[in-house]
C-alpha cells in the first residue's frame, strides 16, 4: 500500500500557487532549487491525483490544487526530501527539530532507555541512507508523502522497526516462555466437547465474516491484543464510552451469530451455549491461517503463535 510516486505527467502547478508553496515551505533555506521543489510537490500531487478521482489529476483547477496542498504538510515534505537529497542545512534543521522527540519516542516505544537509544540510532542510520539496496542509497524519508506530520511518520517508523525486530527475534526464545501462562489460563477455561469443535469453528468463521471491519478490529484489539479502552479510543479517535458500547454490541452480536450458526448445524440451544464457553476470547476465532487448528477454539493461544497479539507482554518479559 505504499504510495506510489508516479513521474510528473502533463500536469503543472499554477505559478502563483507554486510561488506561495515555495515561500511558505521554507524550501529556500535548504538550498533546494525551484525546479527540484516543483518536481517534488508535483510528484506527490500526481501520486494522489490532487485528491481527486483516478485520471482527473490533469483537470484539477488551481483552486483544487490549492486545496490539495493545504491538506498536506508541504514544509515537512520539503524538509524530508531535502534530507533525503543530502542537504546539510536540511539535516541540521532536522536534528534541531526532531532529535530529542525522536529519542523520547523511541524510549516510549521500547520502554527502555537503552533499547530506545539503540532503536533511535538505528533509524538515524537508515535515514542517513547508510543502507544500500541494489547499489542505490536508500533513504526512508523518500517514502514520506506529507499526509501526516513528519514526527508522526518518524514515530510510526520507529514502531515498525521495533515490532519487526521483535517479530524477527522472538522466535529464538524458548517456546515454554510463551506457553506457560497460557496453559494455566487454558485450564481454567471450560473446554467444549471435542465433537463440537468443527461445528464451532465453522460457526465462528461464519460469524466473523459477517462482522464489519471496525468490529473485528475492536474485538481483536481488546480480546486478542489486550488493549485498553482508552488506547483503542485514541486510535479510533472516539470516546472510551463509545468503544465500550461498540465492543459490547459486537460481543453480543457475535455470540448470537455463533449460537445461531451452531443451531443451524444441528446443536440445541443449550448445547450451543455450552459450546461457547464463558470466556469471550474463546469466541474470536479468526485463525484462518493454513496451519491453524480448525475447530480448536482457544483462539488466543492460536493467535499468539501467528500474531503479535501479546507483543507487548512478550516484550516486557
Amino acid at each position: 500500500m505504499a504510495a506510489e510516486i508516479a513521474p510528473a505527467a502533463q500536469c503543472t502547478i499554477a505559478a502563483t500557487l507554486l510561488e506561495e508553496l515555495w515561500r511558505t515551505s521554507g524550501a529556500g533555506a535548504y538550498a533546494l532549487g525551484r525546479d527540484e521543489f516543483e518536481r517534488i510537490v508535483l510528484r506527490i500531487a500526481m501520486a494522489r491525483n490532487f485528491g481527486r478521482a483516478e485520471g482527473l489529476a490533469a483537470e484539477a483547477t488551481p483552486q483544487q490544487q490549492a486545496e490539495f496542498f493545504a491538506s498536506i504538510r508541504v514544509a515537512d515534505l520539503v524538509l524530508a526530501r531535502a534530507c533525503a537529497a543530502g542537504s546539510e542545512r536540511a539535516w541540521e534543521r532536522f536534528i534541531e527539530l526532531y532529535r530529542q522527540p525522536l529519542l523520547r519516542a523511541a524510549i516510549a516505544i521500547t520502554g527502555s532507555d537503552t533499547l530506545g537509544r539503540e532503536l533511535a540510532d538505528g533509524l538515524y542510520a537508515e535515514l542517513y541512507g547508510l543502507t544500500e539496496r541494489e547499489g542505490e542509497r536508500r533513504c526512508p524519508l523518500d517514502s514520506y508523502s506529507g499526509r501526516g506530520s513528519l514526527i508522526g511518520w518518524l514515530r510510526t517508523t520507529l514502531a515498525q522497526r521495533h515490532v519487526d525486530h521483535h517479530r524477527r527475534t522472538h522466535r529464538e526464545q524458548p517456546l515454554e516462555d510463551f506457553m506457560e501462562p497460557l496453559q494455566t489460563a487454558g485450564e481454567a477455561v471450560a473446554q467444549p466437547e471435542p465433537s463440537t469443535w468443527p461445528l464451532l469453528a465453522g460457526a465462528v468463521e461464519e460469524a466473523v465474516k459477517k462482522m464489519g471491519a471496525e468490529e473485528r478490529f475492536l474485538l481483536a484489539s481488546y480480546y486478542l491484543d489486550g488493549r485498553r479502552l482508552h488506547a483503542i479510543a485514541a486510535v479510533l479517535a472516539v470516546h472510551e464510552a463509545t468503544v465500550s458500547r461498540k465492543l459490547k454490541r459486537a460481543t453480543e452480536n457475535i455470540r448470537k451469530q455463533i449460537v445461531r450458526g451452531l443451531e443451524r448445524r444441528g446443536l440445541s440451544r443449550r448445547k450451543a451455549e455450552e459450546a461457547l464457553g464463558a470466556d469471550p476470547r474463546d469466541l474470536t476465532g479468526m485463525d484462518n491461517s493454513p496451519g491453524g487448528s480448525p475447530g480448536f477454539v482457544r483462539l488466543k493461544e492460536l493467535l499468539q503463535q501467528s500474531q503479535a497479539g501479546t507483543f507487548k507482554e512478550q516484550a516486557d518479559r
Partner: protein, 427 residues
C-alpha cells in the same frame, strides 16, 4: 490473520501515520481498519505509535504546527479533554441554576416598586413620630442631620424623575434599585428620618439585592396602620401612594409632614385603600432573609422561618418568637404572641392567593378592612401630589383588599393570619 510478516502487504509508515493522525480520507481509513482487523503487526505498530504520541503531544512537530493545528495537547488540554464529559452535567446544573435564578429574579422588583412611595419624614420629626422599628440614639441623630443634607439633592432628583417619560413600573423599579444601591447619598436622603447614615461596611455589594430599607425608604408605599397605632405611636407621615407610574417619584423631597389632624383625616379617607397596581410579591424562607441586611435577630437565635411582603419582613427564631422588621432587617421588633403554642413557620401569601382573596372579598362586598387587617401598601394616589392636594375621589370602587399577607403556623398546624405582621387572628 497473517502468520508471518509480509512487508509488501502491510500499509507503509506514511499510511499508518496518516491513519493515526486522522489525515486519511474515509475510504482509505476504512481499508486500514480492515487490514488492522486481521493484522496484529499493524495493530501493534499503530498502538505503539499512538502511545508514543501522547507524551510527545505537547511538543510534537513544531514545523507541522505551523501548517495545521495539532490535536488538543498539553497538560491543560489533556485535562480538558479528559474531563470534557464532566462539562455535560456541569452545564446542565448551570442551566438549571440559571433558570431557577431567572424564575426567582422577578421577586425583587415588586418589592422595589411597592416601596416606592415612602414618605419623607419631616426634618423636625419628634421622637414620638419615629417609626415603630426605629430604635436607638444613632437613628435619632440621623433624623436631625440627614434630611437637611439631602434636601437639595432630593429636589434635583425630583425634577429629573418627573421629566422622565412613563415607563413600565417594573423597569423603573429596577433602575431605581440600582441607583439606590449605588448611591449612598440617595440612601441617606431618602431614608433621612428613620435611617442612620449609611455605613460603607454595611452597604450591600453591587451584585446583591439592595437592602430593603434602601428602596423602602426611597420609594415608600403607604401602609395603613391600625388606627390606634397610627394615632398613638405617630408613625412617620405616610402619604398615600400613587396608583402607579413614574410620577410617584415626584414626592421626593416635596412631601411635607402632616400634623396629627391631617394624619387622622388621611387615615380615615384612606380606610379603603386602592389596590390599583397593588402587586405584592411574597418572599419566603432564604429568599426573604437575603433581603435583610442583618440576619441577627434580637433574641440572638437563628431564624428558622422568614417571610417578606412589601416592606415587611417577619422572622421566626428557633424559640418561636416572631420579629417584625420594617427596614429590611436592620431593626427588629418583637411581635407579641397572639397565637397558641410555639410558632414554627411564617409565610407570606403568594400573589395569586392574595389576588384570589381580594377578589373573594370584593365579591362578598368587603370594602373596608378592619384596622388590623388593612393591607400595607394600600393607599390612594394622593401620595404623588403636593402637600395639601386633594385626595382622589373615591367614587370609583377600589378593588378589595386582601385580609392577610402573612400566615403563621404553630406546632399543631393551627394557622393565624395577619395583614401587617403585628396583629394576628386565627384563621
Amino acid at each position: 490473520m497473517n502468520r508471518h510478516f509480509q512487508s509488501d502487504i502491510h500499509p507503509d509508515a506514511d499510511s499508518l501515520n496518516a491513519f493515526v493522525e486522522r489525515a486519511l480520507p474515509d475510504t482509505e481509513r476504512a481499508r486500514i481498519v480492515a487490514h488492522m482487523a486481521e493484522c496484529g503487526r499493524c495493530r501493534e505498530v499503530v498502538f505503539l505509535a499512538q502511545a508514543a504520541t501522547e507524551p510527545e503531544a505537547g511538543e510534537a512537530a513544531p514545523v507541522a504546527r505551523e501548517v495545521r493545528p495539532a490535536r488538543t495537547s498539553g497538560w491543560l488540554g489533556g485535562a480538558v479533554a479528559k474531563w470534557k464529559v464532566a462539562w455535560i452535567p456541569v452545564a446542565a446544573l448551570a442551566a438549571v441554576g440559571g433558570v431557577a435564578l431567572w424564575i426567582q429574579k422577578p421577586a425583587a422588583p415588586p418589592a422595589v416598586t411597592i416601596a416606592r412611595n415612602e414618605a419623607q419624614p419631616a426634618p423636625e420629626t419628634s421622637n414620638a413620630a419615629q417609626p415603630l422599628a426605629v430604635k436607638g440614639a444613632s437613628e435619632s441623630r440621623a433624623d436631625k442631620t440627614a434630611p437637611a443634607q439631602a434636601a437639595p439633592r432630593a429636589n434635583q432628583q425630583t425634577e429629573r424623575k418627573v421629566a422622565q417619560p412613563a415607563i413600565p413600573r417594573a423597569q423603573q423599579g429596577a433602575g431605581i434599585r440600582e441607583e439606590s444601591a449605588g448611591d449612598p447619598a440617595r440612601h441617606r436622603e431618602s431614608g433621612a428620618a428613620i435611617a442612620p447614615p449609611p455605613q460603607p461596611k454595611q452597604m450591600a455589594p453591587p451584585n446583591e439585592a439592595p437592602p430593603l430599607s434602601t428602596f423602602a425608604k426611597t420609594h415608600w408605599q403607604p401602609m395603613p396602620q391600625p388606627t390606634e397605632i397610627t394615632e398613638a405611636s405617630a408613625n412617620p407621615v405616610v402619604p398615600p401612594r400613587a396608583s402607579g407610574g413614574p410620577a410617584v417619584v415626584s414626592i421626593h423631597g416635596t412631601v411635607a409632614p402632616m400634623d396629627s389632624a391631617s394624619r387622622t383625616a388621611f387615615t380615615s379617607q384612606n380606610s379603603r385603600p386602592a389596590l390599583s397596581g397593588f402587586k405584592p410579591q411574597a418572599l419566603n424562607g432564604m429568599m426573604a432573609m437575603k433581603l435583610a441586611r442583618n440576619l441577627r435577630l434580637p433574641s440572638g437565635l437563628n431564624p428558622v422561618s422568614s417571610a417578606a411582603v412589601l416592606d415587611r419582613m417577619l422572622a421566626l427564631d428557633s424559640a418561636g418568637a416572631l420579629f417584625l422588621s420594617l427596614d429590611a432587617g436592620k431593626t427588629w421588633e418583637v411581635v407579641t404572641p397572639q397565637w397558641r403554642g410555639k410558632a414554627v413557620e411564617v409565610v407570606a401569601q403568594p400573589r395569586a392567593a392574595l389576588r384570589a382573596e381580594a377578589q373573594h372579598a370584593g365579591a362578598e362586598g368587603v370594602s373596608a378592612p378592619t384596622a388590623g387587617e388593612a393591607a400595607p401598601g394600600a393607599a390612594d394616589s394622593a401620595a404623588e401630589r403636593q402637600p395639601g392636594a386633594v385626595p382622589p375621589s373615591t367614587s370609583s370602587a377600589p378593588p378589595p383588599v386582601p385580609a392577610s399577607l402573612f400566615k403563621l403556623g404553630n406546632e399543631r398546624h393551627e394557622t393565624w393570619v395577619s395583614a401587617d405582621g403585628k396583629t394576628w387572628r386565627e384563621e
